[in-house]
Symmetry: C2
């Protein structure tokens, strides 16, 4: 990071803290790394971003909002693969005992250290001897895999069972699949969104809001039938050139329609969600020139994924991944199905019913029934799966018991069946948004330093969609009834659904404008002596500074 960028970052962080946008949490108690507060201005900004995000997706008509617990039983995250695989390699400084991520220590010395095995990391640590960020010595322990989930115990005493804080909101949508499928009257495609906390016990959090231990996520799980052609209307983005870093074609600029039709984006729904993501980011105030989409390399993707694009935003820390849009195949539902034995499937009706000719074996109930008694039903199922060429007797493992099926137990089964449809595991396309990172870039892009009468002057050019305060109302003085009238106007604004207005009577009007500009208030309204006579007020617009005289009833 250049000195200039760094010093801007320091001034901005200071302002964000002072004005109550974002600030280190629990600071009076010494703080806690990787935990942040959204303060008196940040809290509302975050709420607005969340609500816009929800609206952005639910307005499509086949996407619903759900809310599931953050505390998650061990079994759920074992089924999802997080217990086994959600970990980083850590190493401990032998001098000061501070732990660090091994790959982070080697970032300067290897192009892709997070692809290394524990042995490779050990070898490289010994060779490079990177200094400890805490004490600068260079002796490191062997690396160990550290699971990144926060663990806890659900219940007390012997009734307690292990659990974790969820690493993502997505599992709530997968475990709710049955409920969602019923809600949408068993018709794909449909989706479910959830906005809420996710947790990742980072070994060494850094870069402020970029790598948090507790973060705000917003995820959509969109369930589709892989065998049904999906068409999306890309018309609204035909004039927009997307910056794509594609695995095979490198850096290119083209419309999303073209990228999908050329197979650069490998599934139309992935392309559609990329375009929708772009629109959302711009709506909350991200500079469109600082958005690009980077495709994961095949070896970088999870083994089950068929395509994955990150929306990256450029800001003070360079290009940062803020959204991931992944085609996850049937991995998630299949994992939970395997683990629980419960069916998580959708039905596909055939356009033309299929005739199936069956020629094999079934049991002869009159002989096999008395012979196998309570197991007869299961023996029947097993026998009907045997090929015609089976030689009897044959030994079958039924419910952990070995039963011998004789030729007298069975008879030939020949029939034709008509199938009108089949059950299958839906595929999932998942856009996953890191809300904190997006908010951080919203603030970074809005933060504007200028000068006014040779003094430095700060303005947050926030989108009106996300501003913490919509209006400021100033009485020129608090006397002669100007204060009362200003309070009435302020109250009128606050009574409107979704609007926040702030009354401010301290200092000169210029100072009040400056205070409002610093947190991005789009409109300031001043009540003066003339207002008392003709009910007009001065309306001043943040970005242009233009002032117009408006009647109170027209506000």
């Amino acid at each position: 990071m250049s000195n200039e960028v760094n010093s801007r970052l320091e001034r901005m962080s200071g302002m964000l803290k002072r004005r109550g946008f974002i600030l280190p949490a629990f600071e009076i108690h010494g703080g806690a790394k990787g935990l942040y507060d959204f303060g008196p201005n940040g809290g509302r900004l975050k709420n607005r971003v969340n609500q816009l995000w929800l609206e952005h997706w639910t307005s499509l008509g086949n996407i619903v909002e759900i809310s599931s617990p953050t505390i998650t039983p061990y079994e759920v995250l074992e089924a999802s693969g997080h217990v086994g695989e959600f970990s980083d390699f850590m190493t401990t400084c032998l001098s000061c005992q501070e732990v660090s991520r091994a790959d982070t220590l080697l970032e300067q010395d290897h192009p892709n250290p997070d692809s290394l095995s524990s042995n490779e990391l050990d070898t490289l640590l010994e060779k490079i001897q990177p200094p400890c960020p805490s004490c600068s010595t260079s002796e490191w322990s062997k690396v160990v895999a550290q699971n990144l989930m926060f663990n806890t115990t659900i219940g007390a005493g012997n009734s307690g069972r292990p659990g974790f804080l969820r690493p993502e909101t997505a599992q709530g949508m997968f475990t709710s699949f049955t409920s969602l499928y019923r809600h949408f009257r068993e018709k794909l495609p449909f989706g479910a969104v959830q906005v809420g906390k996710g947790y990742r016990n980072e070994i060494s959090p850094r870069q402020g809001m970029i790598r948090l231990r507790e973060f705000n996520m917003a995820e959509l799980e969109y369930f589709i039938d892989p065998e049904t052609d999906i068409t999306h209307d890309f018309g609204q983005w035909d004039k927009l050139s997307f910056e794509l870093l594609s695995e095979d074609n490198g850096r290119i600029k083209m419309t999303i329609r073209e990228a999908v039709s050329k197979g650069i984006v490998r599934h139309p729904t992935v392309g559609y969600f990329m375009a929708m993501t772009h629109d959302f980011l711009v709506a909350v105030g991200i500079n469109a020139d600082k958005i690009r989409f980077r495709q994961h390399e095949s070896k970088e993707m999870a083994h089950y994924a068929t395509d994955c694009w990150d929306a990256e935003i450029e800001g003070s820390y360079g290009w940062i991944e803020c959204v991931g849009i992944a085609h996850r195949g049937c991995y998630d539902l299949e994992s939970h199905e395997k683990y629980t034995g419960k069916t998580l499937r959708a039905r596909r009706e055939f356009t033309i019913p299929q005739e199936i000719v069956i020629d094999g074996w079934t049991i002869d109930g009159s002989i096999a029934g008395p012979a196998f008694r309570s197991l007869a039903g299961k023996v029947k199922t097993a026998v009907e799966q045997l090929p015609l060429a089976t030689d009897f007797p044959i030994s079958l493992n039924i419910d952990e018991q070995i039963v011998s099926v004789e030729s007298t137990h069975v008879k030939r089964l020949q029939k034709t069946e008509t199938l009108t449809g089949e059950w299958f595991i839906p595929h999932v396309v998942e856009p996953a948004f890191g809300i904190d990172r997006i908010i951080w870039h919203v603030l970074d892009h809005a933060y504007t330093e200028t000068t006014k009468q040779e003094d430095s002057y700060t303005m947050m050019k926030l989108s009106p969609n996300v501003v913490p305060i919509d209006y400021c109302v100033f009485p020129l003085f608090e006397k002669d009834g100007m204060g009362e009238l200003a309070k009435t106007v302020n109250h009128k604004f606050n009574s409107k659904r979704g609007i926040v207005s702030s009354y401010d009577s301290s200092g000169s009007i210029g100072r009040r404008y400056a205070r409002a500009d610093e947190i991005g208030v789009p409109i300031c309204v001043t009540i003066d002596h003339q207002s008392l006579e003709d009910n007009t007020v001065t309306v001043r617009e943040r970005n242009t500074g233009t002032q117009t005289r408006v009647h109170i009833d027209e506000l």
Copy 2:
């Protein structure tokens, strides 16, 4: 609970689960006691309740929304008193090892078992021998205090430090006091709200949504100057008679103005928040006749509280506490101040500056400076606090060092100081809302069983403020362009900010109305052949069943 109430409750719970309002979480993995999902209909309902709640308070103009982490370092909750005091007594069944709350086991046999000490509980358990809810035997271990917080570790390895999941959102407001005070330009009163998760590792969760391990809270911490008279405008509630169960007067009905002026409600802000709470509950659909306010008995309140009222709602489980409105004095800020040594105070300007006559001692810099060197400043502060009658030499403990102050080191200090104001710890009035319990009662009050053509018929008479779906749009048939027109109308509704519309073409119109009524959709719109000719549609209202013909443009 009567059989009738119980069987209604069972039917309702079944419907709430089937239609995706609320359902046990992680059910495919066997579920987890005390954890619930808000499903495809419940998720949006909960969001609407939360947003209404925020708006209800922030529209007052001096209340802001903040958001702080759920993971909380040990120190914060030690300072707040939760580490020491947030516990229940549990006992373990010696036969099946299931743990139970000791007071719950003794509910039938003692009027107030949660007031008993561990010894008293042990004695009573031995005498009564209540049966284990799990295995029905009656042998219990000695009771042990079980802290109700979920614990976890922040960070990994030797860098890990203990933490908890927050038991309430309130601490985030207290630790943010400095930021709030600055935001409000150092002027009381002001408040901060937060909506989010709270956690309580219940020993034995029960009653569905009433006693959860992870719950949704909404709290306001309102900071006031205890020496400034506060007036509230009670005018809007002068026609409303509140049902109060007061500590001294028993069950009474009166306006909130009267209750405050008679001192039954002991602080006007507590009364104001009770009335605001009433309005909120009614706005989300709670039946006003099923709300009452119960005052805590003095011995039931926390030692620092001066008044506390619960808003109780009557439903299938009887009267349940859903909101607590407490005057907490200066307890919270004082606790954090003592623990951290940081100042959490507001300044009060005197209307008339106060003259303070000082007659005591200070140090004689020319002699004491060289004598005490780096400690001189602290010696000066200590000496200036000594009474005039002090005999020198005197030994003082300065920074763990004993210094001897001789008479040569000091000189008489006589002066008059003018104080324009003073710093004090603000008092706090806190309304704390249990969102899950409120939502549960919203559903309970809305659930209406009737019959239609001799069949049982279910309708959710939800307030339009909180319905999960605002409109359903039905094509009479999907042919002749009716399906397309219906989809256009549906899309038009969904494009409106804050509106959710659902397209439904399955089954007869009667069945579709029934499906919509069951989840409380207020308005259904049907597109038929006539719509294609004259652009009119049938608009049908849920509660009355009235149908009117309306032009599409007027929707």
